[in-house]
């Protein structure tokens, strides 16, 4: 009588379905099969020392994800059928969702591609499998976000051509260039940039404002996909930490390379998050917490505690983190002022904060806000009342690394723009900060190729040399840009609220 087949326990099953499928090649050299995992200079002596951060097999993965999908889509259906767009706090909130759809959702797709490359690129099977799972996660996040937002696209402007403007619009070159910088690096830098610097170190600053902000502002579609993504995100964070430890434990020569990547990707991530902080401070009608407070909790406390833990590997906190901390009182205001005056060239609406909101800013940001930004808003509001809504018509100088208009001010002088210059191959390049300048100076061969929107516009590559021609090339229509008050979104929202008998500006 045949023995009853023995059930494998989880560890055995994991072993057989991941590393058990791997082998040392003999017909071809391993270096030819995995040609990209050595050139960055990272030395790995023993891939078997890789500690799998989560032991997940494909069959279990499908089961968990399918369960989450069923719940997510049931809620999204209910959301659409119940006209739940009426429950958001205010139609101004929708601009936070637009900026997410235009700027961040495409990053999920870029991450899917990036992790697919990593899932092929590393010669260690454990690392490959973890990256393959993450690749599928990222594709799922891209899809679920698009599906969650598609309901809003039926009613609100700014969603309809996110893919085109992602490739063309000046303000979306900020997230786009961030990810393209990462995927054009080698596999170890890519995984350090995304899994550690972004997902482990900075992700709370992204998810806190966005998902909590969505919940607080009545956006159950976004809240639901946020929760659906959360268990994936915790896997991604664990992967990030394992990668750093693995590289540093494998060879002491890896330390300076990893430290330089952490310096670079902290700064790039911080610059990118300025956009998220601005969304959080300005686009959430019901506030969760200010950028200043989030920075204090998630960077000054948690981030620094993490780097204290990592000191035993020889790592120090990333360069210029103290500059980022100095900027916590100004970065979101400078960013909003920029989007406000250039919003005629975005698929977003902007506005001057209400009196009540200005008071909240005063309480959260103190003296600098009261002396500099509040009077600025009051002046613009006065122009607006005269029918002279303030817009900037001239193209700005843009940082050659982070691709943000150089609205940034000097670390110790918030009244002076900071614009630094590096020369390479006889061409001068402008950067917004010492952090971005260091990144340029380390690899000028790479960043001299950057596609900087105002330069490309003047070279005639974006439809024409004027802002109007550029807008046409973006396919952005006047009715989806500029001032919020009086916009199509605003008028529609007021109409809905009038029908429901609630005042337009009251929380739902």
């Amino acid at each position: 009588m045949a023995a009853k087949p023995r059930r494998l326990n989880l560890t055995q099953k994991y072993q057989l379905m991941t590393r058990g499928l791997d082998w040392e090649t003999t017909y071809q050299s391993m270096d030819d099969v995995f040609p990209y995992d050595k050139y960055e200079g990272i030395k790995i002596k023993d891939w078997d020392k890789w500690q799998d951060p989560f032991r997940l097999t494909m069959d279990a993965y499908w089961k968990y994800q399918a369960e989450k999908e069923r719940k997510l889509y049931a809620i999204l259906d209910g959301f659409a059928q119940n006209n739940s767009q009426l429950n958001i706090s205010d139609a101004r909130y929708m601009n936070a969702v637009k900026i997410w759809m235009q700027g961040v959702t495409p990053l999920e797709y870029a991450a899917f591609r990036g992790f697919a490359m990593l899932g092929r690129g590393f010669r260690g099977a454990g690392a490959r499998v973890a990256c393959q799972f993450q690749s599928i996660d990222e594709m799922r996040h891209y899809q679920t976000q698009m599906h969650a937002f598609s309901h809003y696209n039926k009613y609100f402007n700014g969603f309809r051509q996110f893919a085109r403007i992602r490739d063309r619009a000046w303000y979306l070159s900020i997230p786009k260039s961030y990810f393209e910088d990462a995927v054009t690096a080698g596999p170890f830098e890519l995984i350090t940039a995304i899994s550690f610097s972004f997902e482990y170190v900075l992700t709370n600053l992204l998810f806190m404002p966005f998902v909590s902000g969505a919940a607080y502002n009545g956006d159950m579609a976004t809240t639901t996909f946020g929760f659906s993504a959360q268990s994936d995100e915790s896997r991604h964070m664990t992967l990030g930490l394992e990668v750093i430890k693995f590289m540093l434990e494998q060879d002491e020569g890896n330390l300076p390379i990893v430290q330089q990547w952490l310096d670079k990707w902290f700064w790039r991530g911080y610059r990118l998050l300025g956009l998220v902080g601005t969304m959080m401070d300005y686009m959430l009608p019901k506030k969760v917490m200010s950028w200043r407070q989030a920075w204090e909790i998630y960077w000054e406390e948690s981030g620094m505690a993490l780097f204290n833990d990592l000191a035993r590997y020889g790592l120090r906190p990333p360069k210029y983190h103290e500059v980022a901390t100095k900027e916590k009182y100004r970065i979101t205001h400078e960013f909003w002022c920029t989007i406000y005056q250039f919003s005629h060239a975005t698929a977003l609406y902007t506005w001057i904060p209400t009196e009540e909101e200005l008071d909240w800013f005063s309480a959260e940001y103190g003296e600098l806000f009261d002396t500099v930004y509040r009077p600025r808003y009051e002046y613009w509001a006065e122009l607006d009342r005269k029918g002279e809504r303030f817009f900037q018509k001239r193209l700005p100088v843009v940082c050659n690394v982070c691709q943000i208009p150089i609205f940034h001010t000097m670390p110790d002088d918030p009244l002076m723009n900071c614009c630094l210059v590096s020369e390479y191959k006889g061409t001068k390049h402008q950067m917004c900060s010492q952090g971005c300048k260091d990144i340029f100076d380390h690899e000028p061969e790479k960043y001299c190729q950057a596609y900087i929107p105002p330069q490309q516009i003047y070279q005639g590559n974006c439809g024409g040399a004027t802002l109007e021609a550029y807008k046409e090339w973006l396919h952005i229509k006047d009715e989806e840009t500029g001032e919020y008050y009086g916009s199509e979104d605003h008028i529609m929202w007021e109409g809905w609220k009038a029908q429901s008998g609630k005042p337009a500006d009251a929380p739902a």
Partner: protein, 120 residues
């Protein structure tokens, strides 16, 4: 430290090289302490343009909604080129003033420090 790469070479032209501008140059200019206009401005211009013509006919009109823009006297300006002190001759051209492609010029105007004296 140079970039690390796969293959034999890694050599690309600068995307913003002067050759891409058909004889013109890009010039970056900021009027400091007028931060309601958030960033330095970018201009594509012929290098033989007189600096004063640029300031009066192109640059000043880019600050139309600033109350200081009627009061400015560029001859009183304090100038920097690439963040270094610099004394341009306003009646000479960009080229004659040593302003090359992608030069960064900043000017402060003593007495005009923006609204409320806080750089707005």
């Amino acid at each position: 430290m140079p970039v690390k790469f796969v293959g034999d070479s890694y050599d690309f032209p600068c995307a913003n090289q002067v050759e891409n501008y058909g004889g013109d140059i890009n010039v970056y200019v900021v009027w400091d302490h007028h931060l309601i206009y958030c960033a330095p401005n970018t201009y594509r211009l012929p290098p033989d343009m007189k600096f004063r013509d640029f300031l009066e006919q192109v640059f000043a009109p880019d600050y139309p909604q600033h109350p200081d823009s009627d009061k400015v006297d560029w001859d009183q300006g304090v100038w920097q080129l690439e963040n270094e002190p610099w004394e341009p001759d306003l009646d000479k051209s960009f080229a004659e003033n040593g302003i090359a492609h992608n030069s960064f010029i900043r000017v402060t105007t003593p007495g005009l420090e923006g609204m409320h004296g806080v750089g707005n």
